[in-house]
């Protein structure tokens, strides 16, 4: 029988939530890696029992854990992330220069075709790859070395590479997003990269034509339309239909266009989801109402989804990697909050229930659709 497995990374461990196709009754397993900050865990599309997790912490650094049985048991694998060559310096918050320094893994993107191959986005921003199931990690230095790295600067969470999208039709075509540098694209599997931020307008940087310096929060792609990407920027919801050569704003009637995650419906490439947040200084929903907004027109026209979500006194945040959509016939939507709730909808966002309410602050949510 088909079902779903929701992978939740939190400030104090990871949780695995499983349910059948109805998505009414849930089994909650965890915490895995209790006490560790799990910025991300993710499953292999090529082998759903193969999972990777990235627990880290200020005391003991980064570890990578791998499961070969769908998250029931885990084993530590390689955790040596070394930049290739002298990584040089980047901008610090005050404009001074600061040496590149590995801090943690933010995002894991397993290959769609090979369960042993994974891309990892890290802080300070760089892209690493394993082809031996996590035993060894090698930087793809072309991204960091493509010329404007010394101009990159951290967002509030650190200078992190937090989003990785691989074109399912051409695995050599990869998009990554870095806070606060912007979007970068390779078309040769990661050897050569270019910034692709034309059309992004960021009030926080002086030049409207700035090639880098944009605080992109998250990107989403529907696998059937890899030339179309959706973006939640620090402010503004954007889209591109030419593989990121140019971007245009589609914030439309959103109550605020600040936010973190963005997602695409599994079967409707023009149906997208965001969670509006009041502002960069008020990281909670407007009016204390937790509302997911859905556009069925690829942006511009948005509707609030509120059924089952708290509509008063709600002041949680939803972080950039904390929303995911399953691929069951009736598309499910999931998101986690900094208040420890994980909400799920089995009907494309029309109705929501809290799968769990009292986890540690949720850092990431992924979902696997199981055969």
């Amino acid at each position: 029988m088909s079902g779903v497995r929701v992978l939740v990374g939190t400030r104090k461990g990871a949780f695995v939530l499983t349910s059948d196709e109805a998505r009414r009754d849930w089994q909650v397993d965890g915490p895995h890696f209790p006490g560790w900050e799990v910025y991300h865990l993710n499953g292999s599309p090529a082998d759903p029992d193969r999972l990777y997790a990235a627990p880290s912490g200020g005391w003991f650094g980064q570890v990578i854990q791998r499961s070969d049985d769908g998250g029931r048991t885990w084993d530590p694998v390689g955790n040596d992330f070394q930049y290739i060559g002298d990584p040089g310096t980047h901008q610090w918050y005050d404009g001074s220069l600061r040496p590149w320094e590995f801090t943690r893994v933010w995002h894991l993107a397993p290959s769609t075709s090979d369960p042993d191959t994974v891309l990892a986005g890290v802080q300070d921003a760089a892209l690493f790859k394993t082809t031996d199931a996590g035993q060894t990690w090698t930087e793809l230095p072309g991204l960091r070395e493509q010329g404007n790295g010394p101009k990159w600067q951290p967002g509030a969470g650190g200078m992190c590479l937090h989003t990785i999208l691989v074109d399912p039709a051409d695995e050599d075509r990869i998009y990554v997003a870095i806070s606060a540098a912007g979007v970068f694209r390779t078309q040769d599997g990661g050897k050569n990269w270019q910034p692709v931020n034309k059309g992004l307008l960021s009030g926080e940087i002086p030049s409207a034509a700035a090639e880098v310096g944009h605080c992109v929060h998250n990107l989403a792609m529907h696998p059937s339309r890899p030339q179309t990407l959706f973006m939640q920027k620090h402010w503004d919801v954007m889209r591109t239909d030419d593989g990121a050569d140019s971007w245009r704003e589609v914030s439309g009637n959103l109550p605020t266009d600040f936010g973190f995650p963005i997602g695409v419906h599994a079967h409707e490439p023009e149906t997208i989801y965001v969670v509006p947040i009041t502002s960069d200084s008020h990281h909670f929903p407007p009016e204390g109402k937790l509302r997911v907004y859905r556009s069925r027109t690829g942006g511009d026209e948005w509707e609030p989804l509120t059924s089952g979500l708290p509509q008063e006194n709600c002041y949680v945040n939803v972080l950039r990697d904390a929303m995911a959509l399953d691929a069951l016939p009736e598309c499910g939507v999931y998101f986690g909050t900094t208040g420890g709730q994980v909400y799920g909808s089995a009907d494309g966002g029309d109705n929501w229930t809290a799968i769990v309410r009292d986890l540690p602050a949720v850092l990431s949510v992924e979902v696997q659709t199981l055969p």
């Binding site: 890696f33 209790p34 006490g35 560790w36 912490g57 200020g58 005391w59 003991f60 650094g61 980064q62 570890v63 530590p76 955790n79 040596d80 070394q82």
Partner: protein
């Protein structure tokens, strides 16, 4: 070479799947003890010290015999009671918030 007792914090016990106190056969220096510890528990590589430079991670401390040995040379002899196995070397996560 002697049997050195080492006590590990919860995060590292979880990672190494070991008891709070383990014993390693090593020369009585920080470097030799950590080398032996990482050989026996490869999952600990990189968690106590940098895997390339061997430098202690900033929020890790080493205590023994009611002394903070964190800033001692990694090649300095450990206190005699540690070398003799009467006292453990404590690996500690520094007091640095919740």
């Amino acid at each position: 070479m002697s049997e050195i007792r080492v006590q590990l914090p919860a995060h590292l016990r979880q990672l190494a799947r070991c008891e709070r106190e383990v014993q390693v056969d090593a020369e009585a220096t920080q470097r030799a003890v950590l080398d032996a510890l990482e050989l026996r528990y490869p999952a600990l590589r990189g968690t106590i010290r940098d895997p390339r430079t061997g430098v202690r991670r900033p929020f890790v401390r080493f205590y023994a015999c009611e002394e903070d040995l964190s800033h001692e040379s990694p090649d300095a002899p450990l206190p005699e009671p540690v070398a003799a196995g009467r006292e453990p070397l404590l690996v500690i996560g520094a007091m640095a918030g919740g």
